[in-house]
Symmetry: C2
Subunit: 266 residues, 2 copies
């Protein structure tokens, strides 16, 4: 699985299960229900249609195809016009070190309900990974780079830990804008706060700014977070305030237009 | 896949798709439909629930479990009271040699609609395979052995090609009864006639008798096949005539009772 690529793919194909935040809407779970009768693990709710993508990708990876070529094939299968570029073609896996042992991030979050005490978080394979050259070039040639309000540690962290992507963003940080996934001390959804604290980063818009300070000089924060602005500015980061909670398509469009207008992009 | 074990398992679990003759009734095909959108092969109509069995078995085989222990686990998962014993724990694969090349039997039958000209049929792995000792013992300790009207070449052939099973049946052939899958010159269903002819065996009740003569001294044939009796008797095989076409449960019960009564088994 590549949870972020998959969710982006399904989202752009207009088949994302928005209630769950991942997987395909109206999918069935017959495969998984049958696996359960055989006493197999079934904590990861993979639907019957969703399963096909993971099987195809795993098979093609085994055949030696790159993640980016497979992502491209899948994008075309869904007739998605937007380019989707993985940050790297190498295997990078986020592992959570807990009081109950070392586990895959999905095992921690889905199977163990984020309950084990976190001792550390690491990206296995990151030191040997090369950035996808096409992603580096796209960053170089874009008018604006927007870092979505994804989980800074589990979604964005591995990407900006790749040296050539980090270098590219750092050299153009005045036209990189991140959107905070946190209001006050709480993430909108998911384990962002928990992971940030585990990495020694304060769970707040200031913590987000601190985490992104080398790669972005702009941060979109909530209207409610005026109190954090001065500290954020002291990091050399501009703040832009608006509603950052997106609960429907209208709010999504509003936020994206807000960002584009701020940077004079039509 | 183990088509015969699977069909027996689903049949005994009362979930067999009787119209197709294999797979699970009321299964869905979302996984396969999605695979098709990715340009993957989808000639084998595996349902979403059916897929789980093949994945579990493949995983357990890779972990080093034996086919018979896996079959037992699956049987228990379905609460099937009847013992199901694979003939061997070794990998045996039926290959069809055709004018268009060597292919797996399912590739020949399902993908290529049995159209390529058959040059030969072989059971890969049979010479290195050992019979399942439990199956040999069960044959030894049974009052009667009934060879179902399955395909003699693709379903029964590999089993009776295993030396210790063949030896066991041969030594007790007076209490082994086969049911002909053929009336006149035609098999009820499937490629039995085609495979028999490819193996140089006449497609008729006599051909069936000839194929089974070492392992069975009794053959149940159709009421319509009186003409073949004399030739069959000349092989040292008794004939028992009744309706051998089973189109519903009543006809299935009738045929099985006919056999049990013939051999005085209550």
């Amino acid at each position: 699985m590549c949870p972020d690529i998959d969710t982006i793919t399904y989202g752009l194909a207009n088949i994302l299960d928005k209630d769950r935040g991942w997987g395909i809407s109206d999918d069935s779970f017959k495969f998984l229900e049958q696996m359960k009768t055989f006493g197999q693990e079934n904590w990861f709710r993979i639907g019957d249609r969703d399963l096909a993508l993971h099987v195809v990708r795993t098979n093609l990876l085994k055949e030696g195809k790159t993640l980016s070529s497979i992502t491209e094939l899948i994008r075309k299968s869904f007739s998605i016009p937007t380019v989707i570029l993985p940050a790297s073609d190498n295997h990078i896996e986020t592992r959570i070190e807990t009081a109950q042992g070392d586990m895959h991030i999905q095992e921690f979050w889905v199977k163990n309900h984020a309950e084990p005490e976190i001792k550390g978080i690491r990206y296995d394979g990151i030191s040997k990974a090369d950035a996808n050259i096409k992603a580096v070039e796209l960053i170089r040639n874009s008018d604006l780079v927007v870092i979505a309000p994804g989980n800074p540690i589990s979604s964005i962290g591995p990407i900006i830990s790749l040296p050539s992507i980090r270098k590219e963003l750092t050299s153009r940080r005045s036209t990189v804008v991140a959107i905070s996934p946190i209001i006050g001390n709480s993430a909108f959804s998911g384990p962002a706060s928990k992971y940030m604290e585990a990495m020694g980063v304060e769970s707040s818009p200031y913590g987000v700014a601190l985490y992104y300070k080398d790669v972005a000089s702009n941060l979109v924060i909530s209207d409610f977070d005026t109190a954090y602005e001065k500290k954020i500015h002291s990091l050399g980061i501009n703040t832009h305030k608006t509603n950052i909670v997106m609960q429907n398509e209208e709010e999504e469009m509003k936020l994206s237009n807000f960002v584009l207008e701020k940077f004079n992009i039509a």
